[in-house]
């Protein structure tokens, strides 16, 4: 009965059966220790992530959003959405957005046949991992002025420059990078191209950037005369900006991270109840408010799905969901810190059992949640986009 209260349950019977099937699959495959890490915001090991990847691959579910002829499932967008949210809700670790969610669809849309044949099979099998080389020290929210350049040398490209905030570069086998190939283009964004770069190429140096939570999620990457074969240019030279923008607009339905937020609310309520924290009326009220915020997020997603059924391209709703979804992630993480109280203070990056030591992970997770309103287009950029679409003065 509680299932009618919130969320994913508001679907057709066949969807409900499907969700149950996915749930059963995850529960059978996912080790409790990995689930505990995810729920507590502890980064999972590369090996643990790879095991998840292979399990999903074996089931044919690793890239549900891809077209069936390229190894996807051919599911409608809504089913793909339910699948992703159910995985998240169950505490399955993210497989990383760069390869499966960004590069794969990019190559399917704009890559050459040779690129698809070379890169898609190992990506699906979890044998090759990707990072995204967009941001630079001087180019973040505004990517257009980026300075990493690639110059022709016969058929090849020679790359020089520096990328920054390159998440997972320390583990990745490959990078798709936005580079400047034409310094004289009439508009600066017309001088950009997308290159596929093997991270093992001589001349590449990766320097991990350690965040205050002690984990190297992200990196600086230096390019010193790095030779990239001509066949690794995606699509046409000078169109990199167009491809990059299309990448940033993918996965719109999942941007709200409903499954993630549902899972973290459940964790918060369970921990708060076990600690007797719900006896404090103000804290209990704040948790209830967060639950209402989750219901609102889910209601907005449902409204968006309904509209997406009517016409395919959702507009600024996705930008709204990014803002609300990331704010809720931050709010839930903050509430967990409140429940932990002074026990959130000691820093024990190597605390063992994530489930037993939930309080030790509360503050690092809260800290890292601040990144959610920065990455993927900062929330200020999202508001800019919304405002531009509404057009001040434009009666809608």
């Amino acid at each position: 009965m509680a299932q009618t209260d919130t969320g994913l349950a508001m679907h057709m019977d066949e969807d409900r059966d499907f969700i149950a099937e996915v749930r059963a699959f995850v529960r059978a495959e996912l080790p409790q220790a990995v689930r505990d890490k995810v729920v507590n915001g502890v980064p999972v090991e590369a090996g643990e992530r790879r095991a998840r990847h292979k399990a999903l691959h074996a089931r044919g579910w690793v890239a549900p959003h891809w077209p069936a002829e390229h190894g996807g499932t051919g599911w409608p967008a809504i089913r793909t959405h339910l699948f992703a949210e159910t995985l998240a809700e169950e505490g399955a670790p993210d497989l990383g957005v760069f390869g499966l969610k960004m590069l794969g669809p990019l190559l399917i849309r704009s890559g050459s046949a040779a690129q698809r044949a070379r890169y898609l099979p190992p990506l699906l099998a979890g044998e090759e991992s990707w990072c995204q080389g967009f941001s630079e020290p001087g180019a973040g929210s505004d990517l257009v002025p980026l300075g990493t350049r690639a110059e022709r040398d016969g058929e090849d490209w020679i790359v020089n420059g520096q990328k920054m905030w390159t998440t997972m570069a320390h583990e990745a086998d490959m990078m798709f990078a936005l580079v400047r190939t034409d310094r004289d283009a009439p508009k600066r964004q017309l001088g950009l191209s997308l290159l596929l770069i093997d991270m093992a190429t001589p001349g590449i140096t990766v320097r991990p950037v350690t965040l205050l939570n002690g984990k190297p999620h992200t990196n600086e990457v230096f390019f010193d005369n790095v030779r990239v074969p001509g066949g690794n240019l995606v699509g046409e030279a000078g169109k990199g900006w167009t491809y990059a923008r299309a990448l940033l607009g993918t996965e719109r339905l999942s941007i709200a991270r409903v499954g993630w937020n549902r899972r973290q609310l459940a964790h918060l309520k369970r921990v708060a109840a076990a600690e007797g924290a719900l006896d404090a009326p103000w804290l209990a009220a704040r948790i209830a408010e967060a639950e209402i915020a989750l219901m609102a997020l889910e209601a907005m997603v449902r409204a968006m799905i309904a509209r997406a059924r009517a016409w395919e391209a959702p507009g600024i709703e996705a930008n709204m969901l990014k803002i609300k979804g990331s704010e809720l992630q931050q709010r839930l993480a903050e509430l967990l810190v409140e429940v932990a109280g002074p026990r959130a203070a000691p820093f024990r990056p190597d605390a063992g059992d994530a489930a037993a030591d939930w309080a030790a992970h509360a503050f690092p997770a809260h800290f890292y949640a601040r990144a959610t309103s920065i990455y993927g287009g900062s929330n200020e950029i999202q508001r800019n986009i919304i405002a531009r679409a509404l057009g001040p003065g434009a009666a809608s």
């Binding site: 505490g91 409204a303 609300k324 405002a387 057009g391």
Partner: protein, 381 residues
Amino acid sequence: MTESDALDVRALLRQSLETVLTRHYAFEQRRAAYQSDARHSVAAWDAYAGLGLTALGLPETHGGLPGTLADVAMACELLGGVLALEPYRATMVAARLLAAAGTQAQRAAWLPDLVAGRRKAALVHAGPGGAIPAEAARADAGWRISGRASVIPGADAADLFMVPAHADGEIGLFLVPADAVERQGYGCFDWTGAADLVLADVPVPPDAKLDGGEAALALALDEAVALACADAVGAMRAANRLTRDHAGARRQFGVAIGSFQVLQHRMADMAIAEEQAAAMTDAALAACEQGDARGRARAVSAAKVAVGDSAREVARSCVQIHGGMGLAEEYPASHYFARLGLFERLLGDRDAHLRRFMALGAAGVRDDRPENRPKNRALAH
């Protein structure tokens, strides 16, 4: 009627109502309506009745038209958008309660007039969680009802009251003609009408008691909240449009003020608030049409909290971005502030609904998730 037919009918009704509102709700017409004896536009009310708005979803045997709560909500949203003064919501809530819980004779006596818009009605209750306003004692030939209630929206114009009262140890609902009640009617700060009522030992016949009681009342109050949310959504949509128009037209420092990022972000947040309120209202309306009373109450209270938060944000920003003009009586911004501000005060405030949500909420998240199971239990299936 298929689902798509129903949607077509709703779209048609929406279009017709928009036309009616364009004709009756220019800002100056609204002022004249407010200053009239009725405190609302009699011509607009008649036009609503002519469109069949007062018949929507009521029994066809008494002249009603097919329709759902969502159709009534669609009308409420449009009326909220023009800051309409007519007691449409109050009348519809009471009429739906009468249709659901009244006796055969009561429905036959009152519904045809309510459906046709010849009479208006109001449910005398402050909203979910509020007190039962009256006591009913058995008397020789029926009941005698005593009680009082204040700030009942639409009660200033009602011909008929539905009065919840403690009766024989349970909660009963009674039909009381308006002329049997001491009534002090007035306009509220948003110009809509309301009244304070005193029932001083009012005698009513035995057949004044409805068949339905507490459960019917709970549903009616939840519907009242959901329809009020729809009204607020309409007001937010209009306030946001008004604000964006102003920001595009008003020039300072040589440019339109809408070119300032600080205002753009504020207007983006207003748009998000509007979307969130609309989505939560739809969820509450859907919950009202399902059978489960607990799920309904949770969804409705969550909506009242969330829509209220949205309303507050939109109202404040609407006035702020308009500057001094946002406070002027002769310009709509201040009126949206008033309408949205009073939405939060009526039918149960934020604290009351949050408390109700929490009281119902322990099972809000399922307990059967893996991380909620005892540790070390095998995961095998």
